[in-house]
């Protein structure tokens, strides 16, 4: 089933789980992956090859990779986050082909997050790209954090963002994500940055990573999509809070995005009911989990039931 609409990349297993204090059992993670795939999602970020000291939740990154890669259907793109060369090497050793390197476009956020200046992060990226000699099928996506605002530096100029895009482009990166890491962006800014990126780098595939912290997730998603960015991140259940705003909403819920786009006639290829099953499964494993998902709360209007009929069976046909 060719997807001519919007592509939703689910990051529940990475951005969603990374804020949870309790370790989620490896088998649960693998089951989440199975269920996410069964929903029809075409892109899944399934773990982070980060130091277990920094994020104990991903101490089982290699086990998860080894379990999920063999059961990933053809046509489904899976990726793992990597913060540095060590993570990249570790991911490649475990058979991961698509690496999501993340750095911040805000100097102070990058230092705070990965203890490197942005120049040092770009040097690290170059070392990672050098691994291509041994791993010719490696793909490196670059995710730019704090594009729409930084908790330390405030607004980031689109010019600064474009300078980073240019640098990544010169290194051969053709897949980049712009992230509203703490939910500071608004539709006007999302449009401006999206349009600049898409028009100035037409051969780069851009995606957006939006947080719903201030309720602008849906507005920002429409803004990005209509400005030419057709890959959007979501997390089932809206899992993934913002450490700077306890109690606030995290990632835009995948099921909310799927509902909105399908209701607008923009196909996702994803079955909402199957996404809700993922959420219910996770609730059964972690009772009281703090989801923030409107569709989970309110349900799909009955008369719009047809939009949930992207059959998961079709994906396996």
């Amino acid at each position: 089933m060719e997807n001519t609409g919007v592509v939703i990349r689910d990051v529940m297993m990475r951005d969603g789980l990374q804020n949870l204090k309790d370790f989620i059992a490896t088998e649960v993670k693998i089951e989440l992956f199975r269920m996410l795939v069964a929903s029809g999602l075409q892109r899944i970020e399934f773990t982070s090859f980060v130091s277990p000291k920094a994020v104990p939740q991903f101490a089982d990154a290699s086990q998860v990779a080894q379990a999920v890669l063999p059961i990933t259907p053809i046509g489904v793109e899976v990726s793992a986050l990597i913060p540095n060369l060590k993570g990249a090497q570790f991911a490649l050793d475990n058979g991961v082909r698509r690496l999501a390197f993340v750095m911040s476009v805000s100097e102070s956020h990058n230092i705070n997050n990965v203890r490197r200046s942005t120049a040092e992060s770009i040097d690290e990226l170059k070392r990672i790209l050098a691994l291509k000699e041994k791993h010719p099928d490696m793909i490196v996506d670059v995710g730019m954090a704090t594009v729409f605002g930084c908790p330390f530096e405030g607004k980031i100029s689109p010019k600064v963002v474009l300078q980073f895009v240019q640098q990544f482009y010169e290194l051969g990166i053709r897949s980049m994500a712009v992230a509203d890491t703490v939910g500071f962006g608004n539709p006007k800014e999302i449009r401006e940055v999206s349009r600049l990126c898409v028009s100035e780098f037409p051969d780069v595939v851009f995606s957006v990573h939006l947080h719903n912290t201030r309720g602008l997730g849906s507005a920002n998603a429409v803004a990005a999509f209509e400005s030419g960015v057709h890959i959007l991140d979501g997390a089932v259940g809206g899992l993934g809070g913002c450490p700077f705003a306890p109690g606030a909403r995290g990632n835009t819920a995948t099921e909310d995005l799927v509902f909105m786009f399908e209701a607008m006639g923009i196909t996702t290829g994803v079955n909402i009911d199957a996404l809700l099953e993922v959420a219910h499964y996770f609730q059964s494993v972690k009772p009281g989990i703090d989801f923030s998902s409107n569709i989970l709360e309110a349900g799909v209007p009955k008369y719009l039931g047809a939009i949930t009929q992207n059959s998961k069976e079709q994906k396996w046909g």
Copy 2:
């Protein structure tokens, strides 16, 4: 202070309170009104002249009207909902000048809601308009419920909506609200209906009443505003659930709308901090109240603090 941006009409005191089982004391309602005015809001719907048997919450509509009308600053438009002639007469007797008559564009929803066919509701509207002889300064707004979907009938054709608009227009109505009563609408539909209304009836002032039931409040608000509808309803704290979706979000929060538009550079004239004071005051009166407001949860980003500085003092200057 002339407002050249978006106008947010707060309906917390009407749509927000009407779903609460416990009676809110009249003094609390009056204090809410004082605080809403102090925030800089230019439009407030402050009660409903409905049968106290149907909605006991508004049994004090006349006391509230008599208290708030004398303290309403010049330039602030206040209105009360009226479901029928009796309510209109009662509102006028209590000095209310602006009446918000509500009916549904879905036949079955109208019957369910006000026990009348839509034709009977329009006859009732004619009887209400006849009161203009005795009350020449009376203004009647018409609110159309279920424009973007009905829980009984599903989607409503924009043609049907326009036919209603035409009928109201012929009766002399020049202020109309289109309501997404149960949160079924999406940006595509909001745009279509908004553009049709605005282009076909250029001398009517349209507003939208959006519910955030499925998380599309912000996206739908942007869609409406950019399609030419410049008055949007909100309710402080997102108060006002949907009876068809227990636990789901209700009205789009006024503070979320103010944040979004101000962040986009579209002025509201409203002080967010003052809106949050309204929410905190109501929380102090009704501990544990089920708000659904992102800004209340996450706060305004510090670096965007300037947008909260629409001084409330200015309004009284």
